[in-house]
Protein backbone atom coordinates (compact mmCIF):
# COMPACT_ATOMS: atom_id res chain seq x y z
CA UNK A 1 0.00 0.00 0.00
CA UNK A 2 0.97 3.65 -0.31
CA UNK A 3 1.69 3.47 3.42
CA UNK A 4 5.34 2.68 2.67
CA UNK A 5 6.06 5.78 0.60
CA UNK A 6 8.20 8.25 2.51
CA UNK A 7 6.74 11.73 2.19
CA UNK A 8 9.08 13.65 4.44
CA UNK A 9 12.75 12.83 4.86
CA UNK A 10 14.96 15.02 7.05
CA UNK A 11 18.70 14.41 7.35
CA UNK A 12 20.86 16.42 9.72
CA UNK A 13 18.53 19.41 9.77
CA UNK A 14 19.98 22.32 11.73
CA UNK A 15 18.60 25.79 12.25
CA UNK A 16 21.06 28.28 13.66
CA UNK A 17 20.38 31.80 14.86
CA UNK A 18 22.90 34.44 15.74
CA UNK A 19 22.24 36.27 18.98
CA UNK A 20 25.01 38.80 19.39
CA UNK A 21 28.28 36.89 19.05
CA UNK A 22 26.70 33.61 19.97
CA UNK A 23 25.30 31.08 17.59
CA UNK A 24 22.23 29.37 18.96
CA UNK A 25 20.97 26.12 17.48
CA UNK A 26 17.16 26.02 17.51
CA UNK A 27 17.48 22.65 15.81
CA UNK A 28 20.61 20.66 16.41
CA UNK A 29 20.59 18.07 13.64
CA UNK A 30 17.32 16.26 13.12
CA UNK A 31 16.88 12.99 11.21
CA UNK A 32 13.25 12.06 10.60
CA UNK A 33 11.21 10.05 8.12
CA UNK A 34 7.47 10.47 7.95
CA UNK A 35 5.62 7.99 5.78
CA UNK A 36 2.73 8.79 3.57
CA UNK A 37 -0.54 8.59 5.54
CA UNK A 38 1.07 8.68 8.96
CA UNK A 39 -0.61 10.58 11.80
CA UNK A 40 2.22 12.10 13.79
CA UNK A 41 2.12 14.24 16.89
CA UNK A 42 5.03 16.56 17.53
CA UNK A 43 5.41 17.32 21.21
CA UNK A 44 7.75 19.41 23.24
CA UNK A 45 7.88 22.23 25.75
CA UNK A 46 7.94 25.80 24.47
CA UNK A 47 11.41 26.71 23.26
CA UNK A 48 12.17 23.09 22.41
CA UNK A 49 12.37 23.88 18.69
CA UNK A 50 9.11 22.19 17.68
CA UNK A 51 7.74 25.37 16.08
CA UNK A 52 10.97 25.90 14.18
CA UNK A 53 10.77 22.29 12.99
CA UNK A 54 7.16 22.86 11.98
CA UNK A 55 8.09 25.97 9.99
CA UNK A 56 10.78 24.04 8.16
CA UNK A 57 8.47 21.10 7.48
CA UNK A 58 5.86 23.56 6.20
CA UNK A 59 8.34 25.24 3.82
CA UNK A 60 7.86 28.55 5.62
CA UNK A 61 11.48 28.62 6.63
CA UNK A 62 14.66 27.09 5.26
CA UNK A 63 17.08 25.06 7.36
CA UNK A 64 20.62 26.36 7.92
CA UNK A 65 22.04 22.92 7.26
CA UNK A 66 20.90 19.48 6.26
CA UNK A 67 18.64 17.99 3.65
CA UNK A 68 14.85 18.05 3.53
CA UNK A 69 13.27 15.96 0.84
CA UNK A 70 9.55 16.43 0.41
CA UNK A 71 8.12 13.77 -1.90
CA UNK A 72 11.64 13.12 -3.07
CA UNK A 73 12.32 16.75 -4.00
CA UNK A 74 15.09 18.61 -2.21
CA UNK A 75 13.42 21.68 -0.69
CA UNK A 76 16.69 23.64 -0.54
CA UNK A 77 16.74 23.69 -4.34
CA UNK A 78 13.29 25.26 -4.67
CA UNK A 79 12.86 28.95 -5.44
CA UNK A 80 10.67 31.19 -3.28
CA UNK A 81 7.86 30.88 -5.82
CA UNK A 82 8.18 27.09 -5.89
CA UNK A 83 8.05 27.07 -2.09
CA UNK A 84 4.88 29.17 -2.25
CA UNK A 85 3.38 26.70 -4.74
CA UNK A 86 4.36 23.81 -2.47
CA UNK A 87 2.61 25.46 0.48
CA UNK A 88 -0.37 26.08 -1.74
CA UNK A 89 -0.70 22.63 -3.30
CA UNK A 90 0.97 20.05 -1.10
CA UNK A 91 0.51 21.33 2.43
CA UNK A 92 -2.53 22.57 4.33
CA UNK A 93 -1.96 24.60 7.49
CA UNK A 94 -4.11 24.86 10.59
CA UNK A 95 -3.12 27.24 13.38
CA UNK A 96 -3.93 27.76 17.02
CA UNK A 97 -5.42 31.22 16.41
CA UNK A 98 -7.26 30.08 13.23
CA UNK A 99 -5.64 32.78 11.06
CA UNK A 100 -8.79 33.56 9.12
CA UNK A 101 -9.26 36.86 7.30
CA UNK A 102 -11.84 38.67 9.42
CA UNK A 103 -13.26 40.83 6.65
CA UNK A 104 -14.42 38.05 4.35
CA UNK A 105 -16.98 35.26 4.74
CA UNK A 106 -16.20 31.68 5.72
CA UNK A 107 -16.56 30.42 2.16
CA UNK A 108 -14.24 33.14 0.82
CA UNK A 109 -11.69 32.27 3.48
CA UNK A 110 -11.84 28.65 2.44
CA UNK A 111 -11.46 29.64 -1.22
CA UNK A 112 -8.38 31.81 -0.58
CA UNK A 113 -5.74 29.19 -1.49
CA UNK A 114 -7.62 28.62 -4.76
CA UNK A 115 -7.20 32.32 -5.61
CA UNK A 116 -3.43 31.82 -5.47
CA UNK A 117 -3.75 28.61 -7.44
CA UNK A 118 -5.48 30.59 -10.22
CA UNK A 119 -8.84 28.80 -10.08
CA UNK A 120 -11.91 30.50 -11.59
CA UNK A 121 -14.39 32.17 -9.21
CA UNK A 122 -17.29 29.78 -9.85
CA UNK A 123 -15.07 26.74 -9.43
CA UNK A 124 -13.57 28.27 -6.28
CA UNK A 125 -17.02 28.64 -4.77
CA UNK A 126 -18.00 25.10 -5.68
CA UNK A 127 -14.90 23.51 -4.19
CA UNK A 128 -15.00 25.70 -1.07
CA UNK A 129 -18.62 24.67 -0.43
CA UNK A 130 -17.67 21.04 -0.90
CA UNK A 131 -15.05 21.08 1.85
CA UNK A 132 -17.21 23.22 4.12
CA UNK A 133 -19.80 20.49 3.83
CA UNK A 134 -17.14 17.95 4.74
CA UNK A 135 -16.45 19.74 8.04
CA UNK A 136 -20.18 20.22 8.61
CA UNK A 137 -20.37 23.98 8.14
CA UNK A 138 -22.16 24.38 4.80
CA UNK A 139 -24.96 26.30 6.55
CA UNK A 140 -22.44 28.85 7.89
CA UNK A 141 -20.72 29.54 4.57
CA UNK A 142 -21.72 33.19 4.38
CA UNK A 143 -20.96 34.09 7.97
CA UNK A 144 -17.99 36.26 8.87
CA UNK A 145 -15.44 34.57 11.17
CA UNK A 146 -16.48 36.74 14.13
CA UNK A 147 -20.01 35.31 13.87
CA UNK A 148 -18.68 31.79 14.42
CA UNK A 149 -17.64 29.95 17.56
CA UNK A 150 -14.03 28.94 18.15
CA UNK A 151 -14.67 25.39 17.09
CA UNK A 152 -16.48 26.52 13.95
CA UNK A 153 -13.66 28.90 13.06
CA UNK A 154 -11.17 26.09 13.40
CA UNK A 155 -13.31 23.92 11.14
CA UNK A 156 -13.33 26.73 8.58
CA UNK A 157 -9.55 26.84 8.86
CA UNK A 158 -9.39 23.07 8.35
CA UNK A 159 -11.64 23.38 5.32
CA UNK A 160 -9.25 26.02 3.94
CA UNK A 161 -6.33 23.67 4.57
CA UNK A 162 -8.13 20.94 2.62
CA UNK A 163 -9.46 22.91 -0.30
CA UNK A 164 -6.47 22.33 -2.57
CA UNK A 165 -6.55 18.64 -1.70
CA UNK A 166 -3.04 18.57 -0.20
CA UNK A 167 -1.43 15.31 0.86
CA UNK A 168 -0.09 16.79 4.09
CA UNK A 169 -2.01 18.58 6.84
CA UNK A 170 0.08 20.47 9.39
CA UNK A 171 -1.61 21.75 12.49
CA UNK A 172 0.13 23.90 15.08
CA UNK A 173 -1.67 23.61 18.45
CA UNK A 174 -5.03 23.50 16.65
CA UNK A 175 -6.96 22.91 19.86
CA UNK A 176 -5.02 25.35 22.01
CA UNK A 177 -7.81 27.96 21.97
CA UNK A 178 -10.74 25.55 22.17
CA UNK A 179 -12.92 24.11 24.91
CA UNK A 180 -13.10 20.36 25.55
CA UNK A 181 -16.10 19.72 23.34
CA UNK A 182 -14.71 21.63 20.36
CA UNK A 183 -11.34 19.99 20.92
CA UNK A 184 -12.93 16.56 20.63
CA UNK A 185 -14.76 17.63 17.45
CA UNK A 186 -11.64 19.01 15.81
CA UNK A 187 -9.59 15.95 16.75
CA UNK A 188 -12.31 13.77 15.21
CA UNK A 189 -11.87 15.74 11.99
CA UNK A 190 -8.11 15.06 12.03
CA UNK A 191 -8.69 11.39 12.75
CA UNK A 192 -11.08 11.22 9.81
CA UNK A 193 -8.54 12.92 7.55
CA UNK A 194 -5.97 10.34 8.63
CA UNK A 195 -8.41 7.56 7.86
CA UNK A 196 -8.91 9.09 4.41
CA UNK A 197 -5.18 8.59 3.87
CA UNK A 198 -3.72 12.03 4.47
CA UNK A 199 -0.44 12.62 6.20
CA UNK A 200 -1.25 14.56 9.36
CA UNK A 201 1.32 16.32 11.52
CA UNK A 202 0.03 17.76 14.75
CA UNK A 203 2.05 20.02 17.04
CA UNK A 204 0.78 19.98 20.58
CA UNK A 205 1.91 20.00 24.18
CA UNK A 206 -1.18 18.20 25.46
CA UNK A 207 -0.62 14.44 25.91
CA UNK A 208 -4.31 13.65 25.45
CA UNK A 209 -4.26 15.35 22.05
CA UNK A 210 -1.08 13.56 21.08
CA UNK A 211 -2.64 10.22 22.03
CA UNK A 212 -4.88 10.50 18.97
CA UNK A 213 -1.86 10.05 16.70
CA UNK A 214 -0.22 6.76 15.75
CA UNK A 215 3.20 8.15 16.33
CA UNK A 216 4.45 10.58 18.94
CA UNK A 217 7.70 12.50 18.69
CA UNK A 218 9.20 14.44 21.56
CA UNK A 219 11.39 17.41 20.73
CA UNK A 220 13.76 18.71 23.36
CA UNK A 221 16.57 21.25 22.97
CA UNK A 222 16.38 21.08 19.21
CA UNK A 223 16.58 17.29 18.95
CA UNK A 224 14.07 14.46 18.72
CA UNK A 225 14.55 12.63 21.99
CA UNK A 226 11.75 10.10 21.80
CA UNK A 227 9.88 8.40 18.98
CA UNK A 228 6.96 6.31 20.22
CA UNK A 229 3.86 4.62 18.88
CA UNK A 230 0.31 5.08 20.10
CA UNK A 231 -0.52 4.29 23.69
CA UNK A 232 2.57 5.69 25.35
CA UNK A 233 1.94 8.83 27.39
CA UNK A 234 4.74 11.28 26.70
CA UNK A 235 4.95 13.89 29.39
CA UNK A 236 6.19 17.13 27.97
CA UNK A 237 7.46 18.67 31.19
Amino acid sequence: MAEEKITIALRGIKKLYRIGDQEVAALGGIDLDIKNGEFTALMGPSGSGKSTLMNILGCLDRPSEGSYRLDGREVANLSDDELARTRNQQIGFVFQNFNLLSRISAVDNVALPLVYAGVKAAERKRRAMEVLEMVGLADRANHQPNELSGGQRQRVAIARALVNNPEIIMADEPTGNLDTKSTAEILDVFTRLHEMGRTVILVTHEPEVAMRANRQLLVRDGLITRDEGRGVVLDVV
Binding site: D81, R87, N88, Q89, N99, L112, P113, Y116, A117, N164
Partner: protein, 295 residues
Protein backbone atom coordinates in the same frame (compact mmCIF):
# COMPACT_ATOMS: atom_id res chain seq x y z
CA UNK B 1 -0.91 38.46 -15.47
CA UNK B 2 -4.36 37.02 -15.88
CA UNK B 3 -7.34 39.36 -16.15
CA UNK B 4 -8.95 37.57 -13.20
CA UNK B 5 -5.93 38.23 -11.02
CA UNK B 6 -5.78 41.83 -12.15
CA UNK B 7 -9.41 42.29 -11.17
CA UNK B 8 -8.63 40.93 -7.75
CA UNK B 9 -5.70 43.32 -7.37
CA UNK B 10 -7.70 46.35 -8.44
CA UNK B 11 -10.47 45.46 -6.00
CA UNK B 12 -7.90 45.04 -3.22
CA UNK B 13 -6.34 48.42 -3.98
CA UNK B 14 -9.59 50.35 -3.84
CA UNK B 15 -10.76 48.48 -0.74
CA UNK B 16 -7.54 49.40 0.98
CA UNK B 17 -7.70 53.04 -0.12
CA UNK B 18 -11.25 53.21 1.17
CA UNK B 19 -10.38 51.54 4.43
CA UNK B 20 -7.60 54.03 5.10
CA UNK B 21 -9.51 56.92 3.59
CA UNK B 22 -8.14 59.77 5.69
CA UNK B 23 -4.62 58.35 5.52
CA UNK B 24 -4.96 58.08 1.77
CA UNK B 25 -6.18 61.67 1.46
CA UNK B 26 -3.39 62.92 3.70
CA UNK B 27 -0.72 61.11 1.74
CA UNK B 28 -2.13 62.18 -1.63
CA UNK B 29 -2.01 65.74 -0.27
CA UNK B 30 1.59 65.52 0.95
CA UNK B 31 2.68 63.78 -2.22
CA UNK B 32 0.96 66.52 -4.24
CA UNK B 33 2.77 69.25 -2.28
CA UNK B 34 6.14 67.65 -2.67
CA UNK B 35 5.61 66.86 -6.35
CA UNK B 36 4.43 70.46 -6.80
CA UNK B 37 7.65 71.81 -5.35
CA UNK B 38 9.58 69.27 -7.39
CA UNK B 39 7.77 70.40 -10.55
CA UNK B 40 8.32 74.05 -9.71
CA UNK B 41 12.04 73.55 -9.47
CA UNK B 42 12.06 71.47 -12.61
CA UNK B 43 10.37 74.36 -14.43
CA UNK B 44 12.75 76.86 -12.86
CA UNK B 45 15.82 74.89 -13.85
CA UNK B 46 14.58 74.36 -17.40
CA UNK B 47 13.77 78.06 -17.75
CA UNK B 48 17.16 79.02 -16.35
CA UNK B 49 18.77 76.75 -18.88
CA UNK B 50 16.77 78.33 -21.64
CA UNK B 51 17.66 81.81 -20.41
CA UNK B 52 21.33 80.97 -20.23
CA UNK B 53 21.14 79.54 -23.71
CA UNK B 54 19.50 82.63 -25.09
CA UNK B 55 22.06 84.82 -23.35
CA UNK B 56 24.84 82.63 -24.66
CA UNK B 57 23.48 83.07 -28.13
CA UNK B 58 23.30 86.87 -27.91
CA UNK B 59 26.94 87.45 -28.26
CA UNK B 60 28.31 90.90 -28.75
CA UNK B 61 31.67 92.15 -29.96
CA UNK B 62 32.83 95.62 -28.94
CA UNK B 63 34.86 97.24 -31.67
CA UNK B 64 37.09 100.22 -30.79
CA UNK B 65 38.25 102.55 -33.57
CA UNK B 66 41.56 104.33 -34.01
CA UNK B 67 41.75 107.91 -32.91
CA UNK B 68 40.92 110.33 -35.74
CA UNK B 69 38.83 108.04 -37.92
CA UNK B 70 36.59 110.29 -40.03
CA UNK B 71 32.81 109.92 -40.17
CA UNK B 72 32.85 108.77 -43.81
CA UNK B 73 35.41 106.13 -42.94
CA UNK B 74 33.17 105.10 -40.05
CA UNK B 75 30.20 104.78 -42.38
CA UNK B 76 32.05 102.63 -44.89
CA UNK B 77 33.42 100.43 -42.08
CA UNK B 78 29.87 100.03 -40.73
CA UNK B 79 28.75 98.86 -44.16
CA UNK B 80 31.66 96.39 -44.37
CA UNK B 81 30.86 95.00 -40.95
CA UNK B 82 27.21 94.61 -41.86
CA UNK B 83 28.24 92.52 -44.86
CA UNK B 84 30.26 90.11 -42.78
CA UNK B 85 29.01 86.59 -42.38
CA UNK B 86 27.24 85.85 -39.09
CA UNK B 87 26.71 89.49 -38.18
CA UNK B 88 23.21 90.22 -36.97
CA UNK B 89 23.37 93.89 -36.10
CA UNK B 90 25.91 96.70 -36.03
CA UNK B 91 25.36 99.70 -33.77
CA UNK B 92 27.59 102.77 -33.80
CA UNK B 93 28.58 104.09 -30.37
CA UNK B 94 30.18 107.51 -30.51
CA UNK B 95 32.83 108.48 -28.01
CA UNK B 96 30.34 110.87 -26.35
CA UNK B 97 27.78 108.11 -25.99
CA UNK B 98 30.45 105.82 -24.62
CA UNK B 99 31.32 108.48 -22.05
CA UNK B 100 27.65 108.85 -21.06
CA UNK B 101 27.37 105.09 -20.53
CA UNK B 102 30.57 105.03 -18.57
CA UNK B 103 29.30 107.82 -16.28
CA UNK B 104 26.08 105.93 -15.81
CA UNK B 105 27.89 102.80 -14.86
CA UNK B 106 30.05 104.67 -12.33
CA UNK B 107 26.89 106.18 -10.82
CA UNK B 108 27.73 107.90 -7.51
CA UNK B 109 31.39 107.69 -8.22
CA UNK B 110 31.16 109.54 -11.55
CA UNK B 111 32.93 112.53 -9.92
CA UNK B 112 36.25 110.78 -10.45
CA UNK B 113 35.81 111.63 -14.13
CA UNK B 114 36.18 115.33 -13.20
CA UNK B 115 39.90 114.68 -13.13
CA UNK B 116 39.75 114.29 -16.91
CA UNK B 117 38.94 118.01 -17.28
CA UNK B 118 36.29 117.44 -19.91
CA UNK B 119 38.62 115.55 -22.23
CA UNK B 120 37.24 112.24 -23.47
CA UNK B 121 39.82 109.46 -23.80
CA UNK B 122 37.27 106.91 -25.04
CA UNK B 123 37.30 105.99 -28.73
CA UNK B 124 34.38 105.78 -31.14
CA UNK B 125 33.20 102.24 -31.66
CA UNK B 126 30.67 99.67 -32.79
CA UNK B 127 28.64 97.07 -31.00
CA UNK B 128 28.45 94.06 -33.30
CA UNK B 129 25.91 91.35 -32.55
CA UNK B 130 26.81 87.91 -33.83
CA UNK B 131 24.19 85.31 -34.63
CA UNK B 132 25.91 82.19 -33.27
CA UNK B 133 28.25 82.01 -30.31
CA UNK B 134 30.67 79.71 -32.15
CA UNK B 135 31.32 82.42 -34.75
CA UNK B 136 32.33 85.08 -32.23
CA UNK B 137 36.00 84.30 -31.97
CA UNK B 138 36.70 84.28 -35.72
CA UNK B 139 34.47 87.30 -36.29
CA UNK B 140 36.42 89.28 -33.70
CA UNK B 141 39.71 88.31 -35.37
CA UNK B 142 38.40 89.29 -38.80
CA UNK B 143 37.14 92.62 -37.55
CA UNK B 144 40.56 93.39 -36.08
CA UNK B 145 42.05 93.01 -39.60
CA UNK B 146 40.03 95.96 -40.84
CA UNK B 147 41.57 99.41 -41.34
CA UNK B 148 40.91 101.94 -38.56
CA UNK B 149 40.04 99.22 -36.08
CA UNK B 150 42.09 99.53 -32.91
CA UNK B 151 40.75 96.38 -31.25
CA UNK B 152 37.74 94.05 -31.16
CA UNK B 153 36.84 92.57 -27.80
CA UNK B 154 34.19 90.09 -26.97
CA UNK B 155 32.93 89.18 -23.52
CA UNK B 156 34.92 86.01 -23.02
CA UNK B 157 34.98 86.51 -19.27
CA UNK B 158 31.29 87.29 -19.12
CA UNK B 159 30.45 84.18 -21.07
CA UNK B 160 32.56 82.02 -18.83
CA UNK B 161 30.81 83.48 -15.80
CA UNK B 162 27.51 82.79 -17.41
CA UNK B 163 28.48 79.17 -17.99
CA UNK B 164 29.50 78.90 -14.34
CA UNK B 165 26.16 80.27 -13.17
CA UNK B 166 24.19 77.95 -15.41
CA UNK B 167 26.22 75.01 -14.20
CA UNK B 168 25.61 76.02 -10.61
CA UNK B 169 21.86 76.36 -11.11
CA UNK B 170 21.72 73.04 -12.89
CA UNK B 171 23.67 71.37 -10.12
CA UNK B 172 21.64 72.79 -7.24
CA UNK B 173 18.42 72.20 -9.10
CA UNK B 174 19.38 68.57 -9.58
CA UNK B 175 20.37 68.15 -5.93
CA UNK B 176 17.13 69.75 -4.80
CA UNK B 177 15.01 67.65 -7.13
CA UNK B 178 16.73 64.47 -5.96
CA UNK B 179 16.08 65.54 -2.40
CA UNK B 180 12.40 66.16 -3.12
CA UNK B 181 12.07 62.85 -4.96
CA UNK B 182 13.53 61.24 -1.83
CA UNK B 183 11.04 63.08 0.37
CA UNK B 184 8.13 61.94 -1.79
CA UNK B 185 9.44 58.39 -1.66
CA UNK B 186 9.59 58.61 2.11
CA UNK B 187 6.02 59.93 2.40
CA UNK B 188 4.55 57.23 0.19
CA UNK B 189 6.54 54.42 1.75
CA UNK B 190 5.37 55.58 5.18
CA UNK B 191 1.74 55.54 4.16
CA UNK B 192 2.07 52.10 2.63
CA UNK B 193 3.96 50.97 5.70
CA UNK B 194 0.91 51.84 7.77
CA UNK B 195 -1.42 49.83 5.54
CA UNK B 196 1.08 46.99 5.42
CA UNK B 197 1.43 47.07 9.17
CA UNK B 198 -2.32 47.07 9.65
CA UNK B 199 -2.47 44.03 7.38
CA UNK B 200 0.65 42.18 8.50
CA UNK B 201 -1.40 39.32 9.88
CA UNK B 202 -3.23 39.07 6.59
CA UNK B 203 0.08 39.00 4.72
CA UNK B 204 1.28 36.17 6.95
CA UNK B 205 -1.93 34.24 6.29
CA UNK B 206 -1.56 34.78 2.55
CA UNK B 207 1.95 33.37 2.77
CA UNK B 208 0.79 30.35 4.78
CA UNK B 209 -1.79 29.37 2.23
CA UNK B 210 0.66 29.71 -0.61
CA UNK B 211 0.54 33.19 -2.10
CA UNK B 212 3.78 34.06 -3.89
CA UNK B 213 5.64 37.18 -2.79
CA UNK B 214 4.64 38.95 -5.99
CA UNK B 215 1.00 38.14 -5.48
CA UNK B 216 1.18 39.83 -2.09
CA UNK B 217 3.33 42.68 -3.36
CA UNK B 218 1.23 43.74 -6.35
CA UNK B 219 -1.81 45.22 -4.58
CA UNK B 220 0.43 47.26 -2.29
CA UNK B 221 2.55 48.42 -5.19
CA UNK B 222 -0.54 49.40 -7.10
CA UNK B 223 -1.83 51.23 -4.05
CA UNK B 224 1.41 53.20 -3.88
CA UNK B 225 1.15 53.91 -7.58
CA UNK B 226 -2.44 55.13 -7.22
CA UNK B 227 -1.40 57.44 -4.36
CA UNK B 228 1.47 58.74 -6.50
CA UNK B 229 -0.84 59.11 -9.49
CA UNK B 230 -3.47 61.15 -7.62
CA UNK B 231 -0.80 63.28 -5.95
CA UNK B 232 0.87 63.78 -9.31
CA UNK B 233 -2.36 64.80 -11.03
CA UNK B 234 -3.15 67.29 -8.27
CA UNK B 235 0.35 68.79 -8.38
CA UNK B 236 0.18 68.85 -12.14
CA UNK B 237 -3.08 70.86 -12.21
CA UNK B 238 -1.64 73.49 -9.87
CA UNK B 239 1.61 73.62 -11.85
CA UNK B 240 -0.17 74.10 -15.18
CA UNK B 241 -2.39 76.92 -13.91
CA UNK B 242 0.49 78.49 -12.03
CA UNK B 243 2.80 78.49 -15.03
CA UNK B 244 0.15 79.83 -17.40
CA UNK B 245 -0.60 82.67 -15.00
CA UNK B 246 3.11 83.42 -14.59
CA UNK B 247 3.73 83.44 -18.33
CA UNK B 248 0.91 85.88 -19.07
CA UNK B 249 1.96 88.07 -16.12
CA UNK B 250 5.57 88.23 -17.24
CA UNK B 251 4.77 88.76 -20.90
CA UNK B 252 2.63 91.79 -20.10
CA UNK B 253 5.45 93.32 -18.06
CA UNK B 254 8.62 92.11 -19.81
CA UNK B 255 7.74 91.23 -23.36
CA UNK B 256 11.13 89.82 -24.30
CA UNK B 257 11.80 87.77 -21.22
CA UNK B 258 12.79 84.37 -22.62
CA UNK B 259 10.33 82.04 -20.83
CA UNK B 260 9.70 78.63 -22.36
CA UNK B 261 6.31 78.76 -24.14
CA UNK B 262 3.54 76.77 -22.45
CA UNK B 263 3.15 74.17 -25.18
CA UNK B 264 4.48 71.57 -25.40
CA UNK B 265 6.56 72.36 -22.31
CA UNK B 266 3.68 71.85 -19.86
CA UNK B 267 2.85 68.46 -21.35
CA UNK B 268 6.40 67.26 -20.74
CA UNK B 269 6.24 68.54 -17.17
CA UNK B 270 2.91 66.74 -16.68
CA UNK B 271 4.37 63.47 -17.90
CA UNK B 272 7.39 63.79 -15.63
CA UNK B 273 5.36 64.73 -12.55
CA UNK B 274 2.58 62.17 -12.97
CA UNK B 275 4.73 59.21 -14.03
CA UNK B 276 7.42 60.23 -11.57
CA UNK B 277 4.79 60.16 -8.82
CA UNK B 278 3.67 56.68 -9.86
CA UNK B 279 7.20 55.31 -10.08
CA UNK B 280 8.06 56.74 -6.68
CA UNK B 281 4.81 55.29 -5.29
CA UNK B 282 5.68 51.83 -6.54
CA UNK B 283 9.19 52.11 -5.13
CA UNK B 284 7.91 53.39 -1.79
CA UNK B 285 5.64 50.42 -1.28
CA UNK B 286 8.33 47.93 -2.31
CA UNK B 287 10.57 49.38 0.37
CA UNK B 288 7.95 49.16 3.12
CA UNK B 289 6.88 45.64 2.15
CA UNK B 290 10.30 44.07 2.20
CA UNK B 291 10.37 43.42 5.93
CA UNK B 292 6.86 42.01 6.13
CA UNK B 293 7.30 39.44 3.41
CA UNK B 294 9.57 37.42 5.67
CA UNK B 295 7.22 35.41 7.83
Amino acid sequence: MKIRTLEYFVREVFLSLKRNNWMSVASVGTVAVSLFIFGMFLMLVLNMNKMAESLESQVQINVYLEEGTTSSEIRSLEAELNDMQGVEKVTFVSKDEAMERFKERLGDQSSILDALDDTNPLPDGFEVMITQPELVETAAKNIEQHKHVESAKYGQDVMEHLFDITRLIRFFGLVLMLFLAGATLFIISNTIRLTVFARRKEIAIMKYVGATDWFIRWPFMMEGMVLGLFGGILANIILRFGYSALVSEIYSALAFFPLIPEQPFLNYISIVVVFGGMAIGAMGSTISLKRFLEV
